[in-house]
Symmetry: C2
């Protein structure tokens, strides 16, 4: 017997669709469409939105015009806009474009770090040290990611103790929050429950976010288990867009609207308008031509066809 | 803090794809294709398979040739084949065709009962009494379903006490097991956790199965919560086929392969071959032209494209 009334009262959502979602899509959206996506997300009530990445366009062409995007973005009251910065070159671009809230990244497996960041973990951490220093000089808030925290597609199991060490290092360097990412959807509820307990013990709920992918259908259940443990901050992507880069066609990030559906059903507040989120997913699908993976969007579409009950 | 090591050691799967899956598909499969589907499910290790329904073909044309199907089905060692029988007319057909294991059905809401079974609940129960008597005379084992046990698309919330009373009545009448169905995917984890506790208190794990739909993306999480409470028997559908009848295009039953993925990740045995299940889903999609909804099938396809890691 368990007491299922122990969810947090309120959950914070960090929207990654315009970055982690779009960067894995086969097509590259025009800046105007990316801007419209962000505007609609803000209108749905999302207060933290990762809008793009200052990675080299050779690696991620989908994010090529992030400079232009940041320069053109309108003021969105009460919304924090975040940009991923993989290195000092990206940092210089971000500063030039006027980005204010930044995300820095390390990977929990050597192979993934070399393939994804083009450097071993130790060098990635050294780069984050330099980035943190540069951010501190400008007073720019930043957030830290640890990728493949729940399993690596190259190496398999990942030592979660090492994940916690990397996260602790980023917090010590000044990260406002660390987000532990199940980059390719390898995590399972048993593992996530235990990991969430350890991470909460170590950092407390304010400093911790979890980031799930629904690649194998376990993203929602992983989020639920983390909620049960007391995690109150999740990265999600409108429409569940952004399949795994090494698995074309696979389902992507945990969908914002599906998670909001879960939160509503549990009576957990998240200050996001579900109907507007469904509209965003519909817009993504119909106008932006980005494949939407969320169940609740598909259900809403079918209801519109069948008539409401 | 919770103890997440309390899942059952072993879970029994009751495969409903050839009935609850196919009956909601837009197209009607030829008997030979239905037979091949069943053969493949048995080969994947499923030991309880609901193969069809003796409902009037005017209502469910997809199940029209179930007589023929049952007559032609080969002997599958160790596999129990089940057929849904909605009334005495269906019972006579089932007996004539040679069906041995039967499923009888009631609905937990008056409106759904009238629309789905064409009679109020009291009359549906009276029919099950007659069916149970007829089954007892022939020594035919039967299983009871309670539909819309977690919410009704017409009436909204459903009194779970009334669900338990209906289930108890079916067990008293001789049902080997009762399956409580979230017919249109309205259940949420909070509700399911509480309901599972109550149902287990009332009937114990041997007599109880739960049947989830993934309409709103909560099917897997609902199953997980039930597992945590100690439920060890689930109805699932290969490929997650069988959308909600009143919501065309919506995701269908909880997918067998997705649930098996979850069970494997938790170390729970279910005696089903995951890779063969993926082959069944692939066959459904490619050969039988039935739309497959499962995440793990899509992931497996994408891995086949991208090369394994």
């Amino acid at each position: 017997m368990q007491d299922h009334q122990r969810w947090p009262e309120r959950v914070r959502l960090f929207e990654v669709g315009p970055r982690d979602g779009l960067q894995h899509e086969p097509s590259t959206l025009p800046v105007a469409t990316r801007l419209e996506f962000i505007r609609r997300l803000a209108e749905a009530g999302l207060r933290d939105i990762e809008i793009g990445s200052f990675v080299h366009p050779r690696w991620v062409p989908q994010m090529a015009d992030t400079d232009d995007l940041v320069a053109r973005i309108p003021s969105l009251t009460g919304v924090r806009l975040w940009a991923l910065v993989p290195n000092l070159t990206g940092f210089a671009r971000a500063v030039a474009a006027g980005a204010t809230n930044l995300c820095f990244l390390v990977s929990a497996s050597e192979t993934h770090s070399r393939k994804n960041l083009n450097r071993p973990i130790a060098e990635a951490i050294a780069e984050v040290e330099r980035l943190a220093e540069a951010a501190a000089r400008r007073g720019a808030p930043w957030r830290g990611y640890v990728s493949v925290a729940f399993g690596c597609p190259y190496e398999g199991a990942v030592d979660f103790g090492a994940v916690l060490t990397l996260a602790r290092r980023m917090l010590d360097l000044g990260a406002r929050q660390v987000s532990l990412g199940d980059t390719t959807g390898m995590g399972n509820p048993r593992q996530v429950g235990e990991a969430a307990r350890q991470a909460l013990d170590e950092f407390g709920p304010d400093k911790l976010a979890l980031h799930f992918h629904d690649t194998r259908g376990l993203g929602m259940t992983n989020a639920y288990v983390a909620l049960e443990e007391g995690v109150n901050s999740f990265d999600t992507s409108a429409g569940g867009i952004g399949g795994c880069p090494y698995a074309p066609g696979a389902a992507g990030n945990l969908s914002t609207e599906d998670l909001v559906q879960l939160l509503r059903s549990l009576g957990v507040e998240c200050a996001v308008d579900f109907d507007k989120l469904i509209s965003v997913a519909r817009w993504l699908d119909a106008e932006a031509k980005v494949r939407v993976h969320s169940r609740s969007h598909r259900y809403a579409c079918s209801q519109a066809t069948a008539g409401a009950h």
